[in-house]
Symmetry: C2
Subunit: 352 residues, 2 copies
DNA sequence: TTGTAAGCGTTATCAA
DNA sequence: TTGATAACGCTTACAA
């Protein structure tokens, strides 16, 4: 005869095999909710019970299942971040700052790279949204319509959204921005060269069509030069290796009077390529050609002549973003943006 | 009088407010399981039904909840990766390759940085394990005992584990390794300098105490030099800015006969610092001092003289890791490691 | 081809 | 201070 309360023949759906809250509870001779409580608020549990739970935790090697926890609580500890390209040193530094800042606050970083493509950004956004992230971080303020809509929905639902690497409060975008105004940078780059007496200038833009920030610096650069009644042209570097792109671009600059006397570049690597090619053509930097980069990559300091450049707050952007998110989540308020300082570093390549 | 089947007064625990499967199902006039099925296997659902579901999906803006899905299915699409420092260009490239490879296979990347600290690695590992990741990626084969145990447990439970940036099949570690043998690299660096006629050599190690791979290259370097009856010493660079560390290290090399005629460095930035300082001291590279770096950072090609170095397969490691994981997960088998080719690039800084 | 029922591992709510 | 119960949103197993 079977006992009336016979155990079920076999669990229909065995889980992943790891210890669960119930397993710990059984060992500690309490119910699972008590263990759950101990984990979240140890002080509430009686010391004797706590002691047994601690032992049970150690014995079972319990690791809490986050998906179950999030599902039940509706709270998430995940921050999703969309980055153009992690191999670019500036973004690497930003992600490092973000990662450390979030980890310190007990949050996790779900990372996706967009390859500078708005379509991929939207796709990735849709994917990471499935994790119901506590906050969302994107790079820049240019998005596809679909992506903007997704971000707006998340924002409306109370999820902090931060756009990194931009800062344009005057545009009154709905999202917090942590970064700086690339137009300002472009104008400062122009002024720096104009002040050195140059009148015939060029901006060598990034070959990546969707590197909006580089384009923005370029547009502002050109506008500023023209306002000063100088001559400004824009060239676009080839895609692929930026050094080679810089070298090639040099040969498209024109000759004689058409040749600019100063060039601002979308980044230091491109500038470096230009510098190399100029040297190999016997053109002396900065006497015959002044060069200004962007990014303050390690290489610039070591070149001969050393490369003048703009140092963006790459690491600080990551740190400040993490900080803003932690604050916003703690307060239950939308994230607050901030403008971070960049720096124009005048070295030999633009000396008069 | 209340009807016996009165609806509950109010949902006790409102979720996150977004559309759920049930919402979509209601609009499409089917049950949620049919919608769930359509999402996973559209072909099984009748075309007319599918049409209604598509409309409902669009109308509701449904985004599936991944935690719920994972919890129910026991399957995960998350790959957890632990990286020493994302701001280092080599790891940035690796993560980029990993990210793209995983995204292509519909997996997500949960990223944590360990700051080269075994303790932090263990802590991070414990944290990411809570997400029941489909696979785990760590950097290197040196871990704390606790971390090793966690990895072994995961491995035993059928979760693919990959150690990136190392490859020592002869050690018969339980985990798959995707990378290369740093001992081989160290020996090749020694041979390169020995072949150029140097007999008094030094290895300038990384100041990061837990950069095991740099130490390993150094140990092999020294052993190889001594086997060839040369003289080899080891210096350790200061922590902090690697250029400055290289510069400082130069001044500790000794003078006269004690001074080595060739130095191999833990990375290109350190080597670059040494080169700068040597130049400022009037020492000619490579005639009086040969220099060999590691990493093939962009800067090396542009120095004067150009820096000889070892190019590690940074990006390929990420790609191959993603590929190995995707294959392993598809087959339900443990991941398989692979050795990837590095390259010693002889440039002017070690020319005879 | 579609539906019903049960359960994944946790937490919120309310009761004791 | 602890427990019982009902979710969270989805998928599996099985039935129709």
């Amino acid at each position: 005869m079977k006992s009336p309360a016979a155990p079920p023949a076999r669990r229909a759906r065995p889980g992943h095999g790891r210890a669960t809250l119930s397993d710990v509870a059984a060992v500690a001779e309490v119910t699972k909710i008590t263990v759950s409580r101990y984990l979240r608020e140890p002080a509430v549990v009686a010391e004797a019970t706590a002691e047994r739970i601690r032992a049970a935790l150690a014995e079972t090697g319990y690791v809490p299942n986050r998906q179950a926890g999030q599902l039940a609580s509706g709270r998430s500890r995940i921050v999703a971040a969309l980055i153009p390209n992690l191999a670019h040193s500036i973004f690497g530094e930003t992600v490092q700052g973000l990662s450390v800042g979030l980890q310190a606050a007990g949050m996790e970083l779900l990372l996706a790279s967009t390859g500078y493509s708005p379509e991929r950004e939207e796709e990735q956004l849709r994917t990471v949204l499935g994790w119901a992230p506590a906050a969302i971080v994107v790079t820049g303020r240019h998005h596809s319509d679909g992506a903007r809509r997704l971000l707006a929905d998340a924002h409306a639902a109370g999820t902090p959204v931060i756009e990194m690497w931009d800062h344009h409060p005057e545009e009154r975008t709905p999202f917090a921005q942590v970064g700086f105004d690339h137009g300002q940078v472009g104008r400062a780059m122009a002024r720096h060269l104009l002040d050195a007496g140059h009148r015939r200038l060029a901006y060598l833009d990034s070959g990546v069509a969707t590197d909006f920030r580089a384009h923005e610096r370029g547009a502002a650069f050109v506008a500023e030069v023209r306002r000063a009644r100088g001559h400004a042209s824009v060239l676009t570097a080839a895609t692929g290796d930026p050094f080679d792109a810089g070298r090639q671009a040099y040969d498209r600059l024109g000759a004689g009077d058409a040749m600019p006397s100063a060039i601002a570049c979308a980044n230091d690597h491109i500038a470096c390529g230009v510098l190399m090619q100029a040297r190999s053509r016997g053109v002396v930097v900065p006497r015959q050609l002044a060069l200004l980069g962007f990014g303050d990559f390690p290489i610039g300091r070591q070149l001969e002549p050393a490369l003048s450049t703009v140092r963006p707050p790459s690491h600080a952007i990551g740190e400040a973003t993490a900080q803003a998110l932690v604050t916003a989540l703690a307060a239950g308020a939308p994230a607050r943006g901030s403008a971070l300082a960049w720096q124009l570093i005048a070295r030999a390549s633009t000396a008069r």
